[in-house]
């Protein structure tokens, strides 16, 4: 998905499996739009879209983000060597204004 980068907040988090770069639009304390990018490995390759989709309208709360992503990991059998669910949540929180 191509986005207009300047209109998004960016968050970076260095995980053991690589750099996670998040582009985030927040609205009223919730995730309005989100894009996960970076140099990590994740299988299946399309998991990132599903993860982003699952977080739309989720509260910007690390616990809620982790729980939401956990469900995706279980359902889609996601494997991201060296990049944990907590790492992805940290990258999201790094993009927030608080």
């Amino acid at each position: 998905m191509k986005i207009d980068i300047p209109s998004y907040q960016q968050g970076l988090y260095k995980s053991a499996g690589g750099l996670i770069r998040v582009f985030l639009k927040e609205k009223d304390g919730k995730i309005d739009d989100i894009l996960f990018t970076g140099d990590f490995f994740i299988f299946p390759e399309d998991s990132l879209n599903i993860m982003a989709q699952s977080l739309k309208n989720a509260a910007l709360d690390k616990r809620i983000i982790i729980d939401t992503l956990k469900e995706v990991y279980l359902k889609e059998n996601v494997d991201s060597p060296g990049a944990t669910i907590g790492d992805f949540a940290n990258a999201v929180m790094a993009a927030t204004s608080r």
Partner: protein
């Protein structure tokens, strides 16, 4: 057990990506042998990982002004700058036939052992460093990226025979977070290449022969020299428009 040895020589980087995927598909469909493939690129190119954002990771103006081709892989991992001075590889194998572990890091290590053995033949002591790097004297001389489908594993990457580090660091926007604890000088010092480590320019044919012997030893196999199959050639033509398309290259 026989593997195919395929040295395609110099190749356009977009065509190379199509060849890589074609060999993967062909092996998945059991229409070709396990393969060790070697290539070099005809032009200055930067390869984005599948999940990387082009605008964030690359200095696109510099690429345009200096004829650096922007290419996207179908595999994850980080961006790498390449020209004709690296020897790039792809290994396509049936993981189960060679007892390659299912764990990703362990499988990188298993494939990299072929190169560890190879480099011994030219006098270099290389070691695997997780997640996917090959290190000589603390400097990274190679990395690998992987795709899998069922038991078939594709690993591709580059052996830095020589490396234009100045251009690489102009092409890549290396985020501060990746080196902030140790400084950019340190980031550069963590990269090395074969000629630097040897102190002379390795003969490419000698290096290729070493790679061949290294894999034969590591995997207990024999190679047969062969080109792409007609089916793979057909796949390359089908896949090439995707790798050349701006929609794919700038998908993120």
């Amino acid at each position: 057990m026989k593997w195919r040895y395929l040295d395609i020589g110099l190749i356009d980087p977009y065509e190379a990506m199509a060849v890589h995927e074609a060999m993967f598909i062909s092996r998945i469909e059991q229409k070709s042998l396990d393969t060790l493939y070697l290539e070099r690129y005809t032009s200055k190119s930067v390869f984005l990982g599948y999940h990387q954002c082009a605008e964030a990771e690359l200095n696109l103006n510099y690429c345009r002004e200096n004829d650096v081709k922007v290419v996207r892989r179908s595999t994850g991992g980080g961006a790498g700058y390449m020209d004709s001075k690296q020897l790039n590889y792809e290994v396509v194998v049936d993981r189960k036939m060679h007892n390659i572990p299912s764990d990703f890091v362990a499988s990188y290590e298993r494939i990299m052992d072929g190169f560890v053995e190879a480099l011994k033949y030219i006098g270099l002591d290389a070691e695997f460093k997780p997640t996917n790097d090959l290190i000589v004297n603390g400097g990274k001389i190679s990395g690998g990226c992987m795709a899998r489908q069922n038991a078939i594993l594709l690993q591709h990457g580059s052996l830095l025979v020589d490396f234009d580090m100045d251009t690489a660091f102009k092409v890549l926007n290396v985020p501060t977070i990746k080196y902030e604890s140790k400084g950019l000088k340190s980031a550069k010092s963590r990269v090395s290449w074969i000629n630097k480590e040897l102190g002379y320019d390795v003969d490419l044919d000698e290096l290729k022969a070493a790679i061949r012997k290294g894999f034969e030893k590591s995997f207990g196999i024999e190679f047969e020299d062969s080109g792409l199959t007609p089916y793979e050639e057909e796949l390359v033509q089908d896949l090439l428009p995707k790798y050349r398309s701006t929609e794919f290259i700038y998908r993120l």
